[in-house]
Structures are given as structure tokens and as C-alpha cells.
């Protein structure tokens, strides 16, 4: 049996959650709410993160972007490479797709309105 300590990042409470793994069985302790329980479980099984970065637009202005959903943590640097190879033209609105399918079927979208 092994135990993993996870700091929940889903809200400012930052609960310290303990995940106990016993073969296929997983039990979770110390969570403040359901969301945290799910987060802690995922942290042990397959941690995921939203990646945020910027893409240079045709005018040189930087456009802030993010993955529309969390990508596998192990994929973060591969995703960054794709974001850094991309460009975009202006204007962009929040939610516009800037790079398609950077990991699985997850797109990178703009997070600011830039004219």
C-alpha cells in the first residue's frame, strides 16, 4: 500500500488530501469537497494541467492563450512546442481557436480580446 499527499488546487482552501493506493483500490482522505476528491484521485492516476502561454500575432502583439481543457501533465512540454510554433492574425476574441488539437482533441484558445 502506498500513500500520496496531494494539495488540492481547485479552490483557495488548498486542502491537503491523502490518497491511499492499495493495488487497484484507491481511497481518499482529507478533502474539503467532492471536487477535491476527484482532483486528488486524478492526481494519482493521471495528473492533468491547463497550459497557459502566449502566441505572437502577425502585428507582433502577444495573444494570451490556454488549452481549453487540462492536458496530461506529461504532455506539457510537447504542447508548449506546438504553441510556440504557432502564430495568429488579429483581431482575436476570447475563445477563438488559435491552435487545433495540441494534445488528444484539445484546442488552444485565446484568453483575451486583442484588436
Amino acid at each position: 500500500m502506498s500513500s500520496v499527499k496531494v494539495i488540492c488546487t481547485e479552490c483557495p482552501m488548498g486542502c491537503e488530501i491523502e490518497v491511499l493506493v492499495n493495488g487497484d483500490e484507491i481511497s481518499v482522505e482529507g478533502y474539503g469537497c467532492k471536487r477535491g476528491r476527484e482532483y486528488a484521485e486524478a492526481e494519482v492516476v493521471c495528473p492533468r494541467r491547463v497550459v497557459t502561454s502566449t502566441v505572437r500575432s502577425s502585428t507582433g502583439r502577444m495573444v494570451p492563450v490556454k488549452t481549453e481543457r487540462p492536458v496530461k501533465r506529461s504532455e506539457i512540454f510537447a504542447v508548449m512546442e506546438k504553441i510556440n510554433a504557432a502564430g495568429c492574425s488579429l483581431p482575436v476574441r476570447i475563445g477563438d481557436v488559435i491552435v487545433r488539437c495540441v494534445s488528444e482533441d484539445i484546442n488552444v484558445i485565446a484568453t483575451a480580446n486583442v484588436d
Binding site: P12, M62, P64, I76
Partner: protein
Amino acid sequence: MKGNYDLVIIGGGPAGLAAAVAAYDSGVEDILILEREPILGGILNQCIHNGFGLTRFKESLSGPEYAARFISEVEKRSITVLTNTAVLSLDKGKLVTAMNAEEGVFTVQAKAVILAMGCRERSRGALNVAGSRAAGVYSAGTAQKYVNVFGYMPGKRVVILGSGDIGLIMARRMTLEGAKVLAVCEIMPQTSGLKRNIAQCLDDFGIPLYLNHTVTKIEGDERVTGVVVSKVDENRKPIAGTEIHFDCDTVLFSVGLIPENELTKGAGIELSRGTRGAVVTQSRETSESGVFACGNVLQVHDLVDFVSEEAEIAGVSAARYILGGEVKRDAVEVKNGKNILYVCPQLIDKSVGGKVKLFFRVTDTFKAPTVTVRCGNGAVQTKKLKVAVPGEMQSIVLSEETVRGLNGSVEVLVEVDQ
């Protein structure tokens, strides 16, 4: 340009925007926002990471997305905004002097003013690190602007001094952009940043955090070539023989934020030594009636969600002042008790009515402490916390009844049960 407005808001960041919307919705439509930068949104524009809005919107937004929600609310209400406009002074009669390229220097007479200028970073100067003034030393916020707004990397091998949130965020950001972050050094035994930033920004990337360590030397003449980091004793003095050397080309300082109160001082408004912002009532009214303050210019917040909440209080209060006129204060003082760094607001005005939420910071780390608000010899409110750390602002609410019953100054204190 119009020479007078009911309400003038100084600063178009998260505080100014939320205050404007709240004042408008409380019946004051004649509002002017003055913003120094070319666009609204303040510091949020360079905070491209996510994690904003978890409390308020129950989703994780990036800084620009959070700002955009408030900017569109301001736009919907046709509130007047002047960007690229610097405010030079505020005088006792609520006359605001400002300057921009189109108008030159001009004045605006306000019935009420909301101060929402935000904060700035503490500089390296305040720390006295030995070494020549080599290039490659930046505040974390400046580096953030270079990377996120200008798209330019300040360096390749980085050491970060101080564990403030911006420093932690920049440790991750520069790592993602290909830099090697060698260490984050914190002189205190605990970090000053949020726990979730330690987890997501350092632990995820294996960036070492050195607690009880400080930079004792920055090497290099024209450009930084390395730093020396030493362990400190209980008195925060470096211990000889504990030096660690890092080869690096960049040093970032993330050693705290200070409310930007030059205008406030100029207006003769009383400042608090604890928060370094104005002394205010729960309405966020300063010592000058009709002048309100909110957001990081009042107290440095950890979360923008609370900035918005505070700004709405200021906006509603300013509207009440404009529409209803000045009400005579019936204020009691809120004092810092045991283990408390500061409490905001510093005054409770009983003439206002309603409940009062007191924000505070503790001086140290406390496990399972009890917060007590005392009036005279009796506790009027208590609250148990799981943990309290200086890096995370806490709050305790006094009900309307409790506030009505206060018959003298109150004291907030934090204790760990034996």
C-alpha cells in the same frame, strides 16, 4: 471634456472596474474611470495564467479573461473611461488633476472619489544585496511583463529570491519557455505564496524551494553570472559556511507588494502602518469623507476575487454617499490583537448598518487556531480555522446584531488552544 463627475475612479484594474459597475447599479451613472495604461484591466493583463475567479465564478479563468468580464460590464453601462491618463494629484476638495496626450493637464471635480491604484513590487533596494548593479536583475512582475506582454525572455538560467506568488508563477512560466529555474529562495521558514502555486509551479517541475535561505551575493559586472545563497538563522542572519553557489544569468525578486499610495498621501489621507493603505471603515471610506479605497491600494490581496468583492463595497458606499449625502460617523476602532499583523477595515462605523467582514493576516503559521473578536472583556465572535499562514488572508464576519451591540473598540486575536 466635462469638468465634473459624480464619481471619479482612479485606476481601471480589477478594483476600479468592479467599483464602477457596483456604483452604477446603485444609481450613480455619472462616472469617470481614469487609467494610466492604454487598456483597462490593470495587472491582470500580464497575468496570463489561470486560477482567477474560482471563488466568484466557480471556474478557473486567466487574468485577461477575468478582466474581460468586468470590462464588458463597464462597456454595457457606457461608463466614461480615459486611458493613457495619469492622475497627478487629488486635493481635499475632491479635485482630481490628471494628464494625457490629448488634453494636456486638466482637472475634474468629483462628488466622490474611489482610489483603486493597485500596488507595486517591493524593490531589490529594500533588501541590500551585495554586488554591482549588473544587468539581469528584475522584479518578478517586470519579468512577467517582458515575457507575457512583449514576448521576450529575460534570461536562460534563473534564480528567484522570495516566494511571492508572482515569483512562483514566473518560475513555471520561464520553465515552460525553456529556461532553467535553479532555485526559489525564501528567507522565512514558510512561503509567502499560495499553497496551490507551490504545488503547480514548483513541485510539478521539480524546482527546488530553499526555505530559510537568502541571496547573499550577486556576481557579475555587466551581466549577472551567478549568485550565492546562504542559510539564515532564527534572526534571519546568514550563517557562514552554508553558502551555495548557482551559475545563472538572471535573478528575479519576488519579495512582496506595497500599496501604491502616493496620491493618497498627497491628499492628506490617514494611512495604516499595518496594511500601508488608507485607514478605512467597513464602507471602505477613508479619513476623508467621500473618498473611498479598495483593492490592492488598500490592502494587498492574494486573490482577485476578494478585490472585486471589496471594490463592490466601495462602489455601493460611494453611490450611497453621492445620493444620500454625508452621514455622521459612529465609529469604533478595530485593533490588532495577539498574533495579528493587520486587520482591514480598521474602523467599524455603526451608522452604516449591516454585517461587517473583517479581513486579517496573521504573523506566523498556526495549526488549528481560534480567531476571536473581543469587545471589552467578552468575545463577540469566534471562528476555528484549519490553518492560518501569513501568506493567506483570512476573514471573520460580525453579524448586524453584533455590530449594533458594540460599545467600544474591538480587538481581533488568534490563539492556538492548549
